[in-house]
């Protein structure tokens, strides 16, 4: 068992403890009933996705400054893990919405901006897959990753900026009873650890792929050449 497998095992163990807290420690919501327990992982996944996209932003900025392959790999890893967590956020939210709103989807600002976020970073991954690997693709992806991050604060503040069916923030408004708050904070911490482990594993995969394809070696760098004149 290598260190990545050990870290993954530890993250899974933490998530199992979080699951036990969600189902056996947190009280049942008197208004919504058991379905409210979706909240804990739904919101934690959204925060993990935001964190992962922040990694893409930081990686992109560093890459544009010094063309560091490390930063580019970090951005690629963050984008994939962010899309995974955004998928979980969206689908869990849709199932919760069906129960409490009577519809899987409404085109309100929070849901729409989150879907746009998913599309931006899924597009980022698609571009990375289709483009020839190398510095040109990395530079273009860094720009997409940086501009894509503009949607993260839009998602976060959408419930304040527009009238939405999606509820506003409950954490900063102190709207959770202590046991629910403790369960949420613990789940959020465990999900953050899981996201960190996933990014570390993906980073290692990207490093091995780069090494195999020799992506960042000078011979593979496309440079503008002076036109050759005939002798």
């Amino acid at each position: 068992m290598n260190r990545y497998e050990k870290a993954a095992g530890a993250a899974v163990a933490l998530m199992l403890i979080a699951g036990a807290a969600i189902f056996f420690y947190a009280p049942t919501d008197w208004l919504q009933g058991p379905v409210q327990r979706i909240f804990y992982l739904h919101v934690s996944s959204a925060i993990a996705a935001f964190g992962s996209f922040a990694v893409v932003l930081v990686g992109g900025v560093i890459y544009l400054r010094n063309a560091s392959p490390v930063a580019d790999r970090l951005a690629r890893a963050g984008a994939l893990v962010g899309v995974v967590f955004t998928t979980v956020t969206l689908v869990m939210g849709m199932l919760w919405a069906k129960k409490v709103w009577g519809a899987f989807w409404v085109w309100d600002a929070r849901l729409t901006s989150t879907l746009v976020l998913w599309i931006i970073y899924a597009g980022y991954l698609l571009v990375r897959r289709l483009a020839d690997p190398g510095r040109q693709a990395a530079r273009f992806a860094a720009v997409v990753g940086i501009f894509g991050f503009i949607d993260v604060p839009v998602v976060y503040f959408s419930v304040s900026w527009w009238a939405t069916q999606h509820p506003g923030p409950v954490i900063i408004n102190d709207a959770l009873p202590p046991q629910m708050l403790a369960t949420f904070l613990f789940t959020m911490a465990c999900t953050a650890v899981l996201a960190g482990v996933m990014i570390a594993i993906r980073y290692r995969i990207e490093a091995l792929l780069d090494e195999r394809e020799r992506v960042f070696e000078p011979a593979n760098v496309i440079v503008a050449r002076e036109p050759q004149t005939a002798p």
């Binding site: 058991p34 199932l95 069906k98 993906r202 091995l208």
Partner: protein
């Protein structure tokens, strides 16, 4: 209750599936490197 179970089953499938897939991919790449 059905939606709660479905939501967590989906999350476990996606997060667990992704984690297992990435660990297998990593193991495969490291084996090829040796």
């Amino acid at each position: 209750m059905t939606y709660l179970v479905l939501a967590y089953a989906f999350a476990v499938a996606v997060l667990g599936g992704y984690l297992v897939w990435s660990l297998r991919r990593l193991r495969e790449l490291e084996r090829r490197q040796l």
